[in-house]
C-alpha cells in the first residue's frame, strides 16, 4: 500500500478519487452525528444539555492525537526512504491536527465552565493535550522557519519523531503527577460503559472527523503536487568547458 502510493502519479489517481469520497462521507457522518448528538440523545442527569459538548469534544481530541501519530509515522517513512510525498503527508497533517487539538481544548474548556465552573483545570489529560498542541506548533514553526524545504522536511521530521517517542513519557508523567496532587479529581465516564444512545453519535462523529481530516490532507497534497508541476521551468544550467592550460 505504502510503496504503491509512493509513486506521485498513482497517488494522484488515488487521491483524485478518494478525496471527494472522504469529503462526502465526512459530511454525512458529521451531519448524522450532530443530529443524533444534539437532538436525538438523552440528557445527562447531572450535566443536562451541556453533555452534548462531548460529541464535539471527545472526537476532536482523538482526531488530534491520531493526526500526530500519522505525522510521526509519515516522518519516519520520509526519513528512511527520503520520499518527498511522505514529507508532504506529514506536513499536511500538522495544521488540521493542531486545529482539532485546539478544538478539543476549547470545547473542553467550555464544558469545564458549565460542569465545574472553571474553564481550566491543571488535570492530567488536559495538560497533556495542551502539550500536544505545543508539539504541533513547534513542528509547524520548524517548517515555517527554514527556507530550504528539503532541509525543513528533515528537521521537522526529526522533531515529530522525537516528540512521538516522548509522548508516552509525557502522558505517563502528567497523569501520575495529577493523581499525586489533585485530590478532588473529576470523574470522566468510561467509554466502554456508555449506553448506545451516547456511543452511536460519538462513533459517528469520530469517523466523520477522521474522514474530514483525510479529505483535508488529500486535497492539500493534491494542491502541492499541482503547484509543483506548474512552477516555472528552471533556467538552463551553466555550460561547462574543460581545457588544458
Amino acid at each position: 500500500m505504502i510503496s504503491f502510493l509512493a509513486n506521485p502519479l498513482r497517488f494522484k489517481k488515488f487521491a483524485n478519487v478518494a478525496a471527494p469520497i472522504f469529503g462526502l462521507l465526512a459530511l454525512f457522518l458529521i451531519g448524522s452525528g450532530l443530529y443524533f448528538g444534539l437532538y436525538n440523545s438523552p440528557e445527562d442527569q447531572l450535566q443536562g444539555h451541556s453533555v452534548r459538548i462531548m460529541y464535539v469534544h471527545v472526537p476532536a481530541v482523538w482526531t488530534g492525537m491520531a493526526a500526530y501519530a500519522g505525522m510521526a509515522f509519515a516522518s519516519l517513512l520520509a526519513y528512511i526512504w527520503r520520499h518527498p510525498l511522505s514529507d508532504e503527508l506529514a506536513r499536511a497533517l500538522a495544521l488540521p491536527g493542531a486545529a482539532f487539538t485546539a478544538l478539543g481544548l476549547i470545547t473542553g474548556a467550555l464544558w469545564g465552565k458549565t460542569s465545574w465552573g472553571t474553564y481550566w483545570q491543571w488535570d492530567g489529560r488536559m495538560t497533556s493535550t495542551l502539550i500536544l498542541l505545543f508539539l504541533f506548533i513547534g513542528y509547524m514553526a520548524v517548517w515555517a522557519g527554514i527556507d530550504d524545504k528539503r532541509r525543513a522536511a528533515r528537521i521537522a521530521g526529526l522533531v515529530a519523531m522525537v516528540g512521538s517517542i516522548n509522548l508516552p513519557i509525557i502522558k505517563f508523567s502528567v497523569d501520575w503527577w495529577n493523581t499525586l496532587h489533585q485530590t478532588s479529581s473529576v470523574s470522566m465516564p468510561d467509554a466502554p460503559g456508555l449506553p448506545g444512545s451516547i456511543l452511536l453519535p460519538l462513533m459517528l462523529m469520530t469517523f466523520g472527523y477522521t474522514f474530514f481530516l483525510g479529505w483535508l490532507v488529500l486535497s492539500k497534497m493534491l494542491n502541492k503536487i499541482a503547484s509543483a508541476k506548474t512552477r516555472r521551468k528552471r533556467p538552463a544550467a551553466a555550460t561547462t568547458t574543460l581545457e588544458k592550460l
Binding site: 505545543f134 514553526a141 496532587h181
Partner: protein, 222 residues
Amino acid sequence: MNSIGGLIVRDIRIALRSGGAWLLGLVFFAVFLSMSAIALGGEFKTLRPLAPALIWLAVVFSLLFSFEHLFSDDAEDGSLEHIKLSGMSMNAYVLAKVCAHWLLAILPLIIALPLAVLLFDLPTDILLGLFVSMVIASPALVCYGAFSGACLVGFKGGGFLLVLLTIPLVIPVLIFSVSGAVSFQNASLFQVLEFQALAGISLIAAAIGIPAAAAALNTVME
C-alpha cells in the same frame, strides 16, 4: 521622520519574514505560565494568589531575551555603520527600534493577557489591573531593555549579562506592577498609587534610556 518610519517598517518586515519567530515571545509567555503551573502542582487554590506575580514574571522574562538581538544584528552585519553615516541621529534610530519592538513584543502579550488569566481562573478585576499595569509599565521595560541591549552589542553570549544589567532596573517596575494589579480591585484607576509611580518610572526610563542607549551604541561601534 521618514527614516524612522522606514526603520519601523523594515523591522516589522524582517520579523514577519523570520518564520514566525517574533510570535514566539508569546509562546514563551504561555510556556512559562504552564511550566510554572505544572511545577507548582497545578491546584488553583495555590496558584490563584500567585498568579499576578507569575504573569508579570512571564512578561519580564519573555521580554528580557528579546533585547539581545535588538541592536546586535544591525551592528554585526555592518548596517549600523551605514546608518551612522547616513546622518540619522542615534536617538532617532533607537527610538525607531524601541517603537518597533513595542509593537512586535509587547502588544501581542497585552492582547494575550485574557488567555493567561484563564489558566489561573482569576477574577476580571485583577485581569483589568494587570492590563492597566502592563500598558503603563511597558515603556519603562522597553527603554531599559534597549539600553542594556545597546551595552551588549558585540558581546558574544551576552544574553545572560543582559539579564544582569536589566534586572536591577526592572525590579521596581515588577514590584509596583504586581501590587498595582492586585490593589486595582478595590480602587479606581487614578487612585492606585502604584500606577502613578509606574507612569513616573516610564517617563524617566524613556528620557534616560533612549539617549543612554544611543550613547552606548556610539561607543560600541568604534
